[in-house]
């Protein structure tokens, strides 16, 4: 069954305390190749059947109303993923 993936990230101008703490830990562990870390959220919305334009529109609506807080977060991706591409461990 197809899934719609929604990625939500803290707005670039908004402080991301989690990302900041992780970046600090990486540095302390000697993994110095990264200048910044930002931590976001990934949602997977499973659809029974085909993803119609209407369903995709619903997903976009959900992304901007419920899944993200527009005051502090951006929706950076709303994308349909076919079964085979879903990450390992499934």
């Amino acid at each position: 069954m197809p899934r719609i993936v929604v990625d939500v990230m803290p707005k670039p101008e908004i402080l991301d305390p989690q990302g900041k703490a992780i970046a600090g830990a990486l540095k302390r562990l000697g993994q110095t190749g990264f200048s910044e870390v930002r931590q976001g959220k990934r949602f997977e919305l499973t659809v029974d059947g085909e993803v119609t334009a209407e369903i995709l529109e619903q997903a976009r609506h959900a992304a901007t109303t419920l899944l993200s807080n527009p005051v502090i977060e951006d929706v950076t991706r709303v994308e349909v993923i076919v079964e085979a591409t879903i990450g390992a461990g499934e």
Binding site: P17, Q18, A21, I22, A25, R28, L29, Q39
Partner: protein, 257 residues
């Protein structure tokens, strides 16, 4: 009836013979209950030694408490960043040599992230931070930290956390049960959805114990569950957590003799 007794009147007198036992209490950035854990060690009669996460020196302590809090904000995963602190290398090595180690709440999370204890903690099943006076059953009184309790006895200590739901795969859970390594179990209410009502576990040797509730907040009459609970604890009670600390202190002193 008599007047309300003073706070402290009920607290048992510390055993003066235990003060030679030195218990280290680690402070990470974001640790909250370190001063409370040190107080508990002192009330139990021992000597508390402050340890700094960034040091490489256990200062020759006889046991270590990793206290509660939100080390590194609990960002990423609770305990995930602290587990890499320099001092944790010493703790991991020493625990393999038998050093008694107790992880409380965030400390328990650090121990699971460090793989000294199996399983992990996820967000409470009701998704809220929860602070309540929790009844526990001491399932195993053979560990370094529970020998002062009778197996099967019940105690009431505060529970306060956001990520307190203990999870592990069925095989691990069966092993823990089979080897008697479930040390504490929630009674009456499972406050967070933990598998098999598990509140605390130990390693196979019994020197490393982790638990989510806070025994260090039930060591002093008037400042623990008896002052705030809703009738679950007798007036002047609320010191059920003290046994955890006296257990390890007595074990240390006995071992030194």
């Amino acid at each position: 009836m008599t007047e309300t007794p003073l706070i402290g009147d009920f607290s048992p007198m510390p055993d003066s013979g235990l003060s030679g036992a030195r218990i280290g209490v680690i402070t990470f950035p974001g640790t909250l209950d370190d001063r409370d854990a040190s107080r508990a060690v002192r009330i139990a009669g021992g000597t508390a030694v402050s340890l700094w996460h960034g040091d490489h020196d256990l200062k020759g302590v006889d046991a270590v408490v990793i206290p509660g809090g939100f080390s590194y904000g609990d960002y990423l995963r609770a305990g995930a960043i602290s587990r890499f602190a320099p001092l944790m290398e010493q703790v991991i090595d020493a625990s393999k040599g038998g050093l008694p180690v107790l992880g409380i709440c965030n400390g328990f999370q650090v121990l699971t992230e460090a793989h000294l204890l199996p399983g992990s903690m996820i967000k409470n099943n009701h998704l809220h931070f929860l602070c309540r006076d929790q009844r526990l059953r001491v399932e195993n009184s053979d560990t370094a930290w529970t020998s002062e309790y009778a197996a099967g006895s019940e105690i009431v200590v505060p529970l306060k956390n956001q990520d307190g739901q203990y999870v592990a795969d069925e095989k691990t859970l069966d092993e823990l049960e089979g080897e008697g390594r479930v040390v504490f179990r929630y009674v009456d209410v499972n406050p967070n959805g933990s598998r098999r009502d598990i509140a605390g576990i130990s390693n196979a040797a019994g020197n490393v114990v982790g638990l989510m509730p806070h025994p260090e907040h039930a060591v002093e009459a008037g400042f623990g569950p008896d002052s705030s609970a809703f009738g679950d604890v007798e007036l002047g009670g609320g010191t059920d957590g003290l046994g955890i600390f006296t257990s390890v202190l007595k074990k240390i002193v006995a071992g030194a003799k």
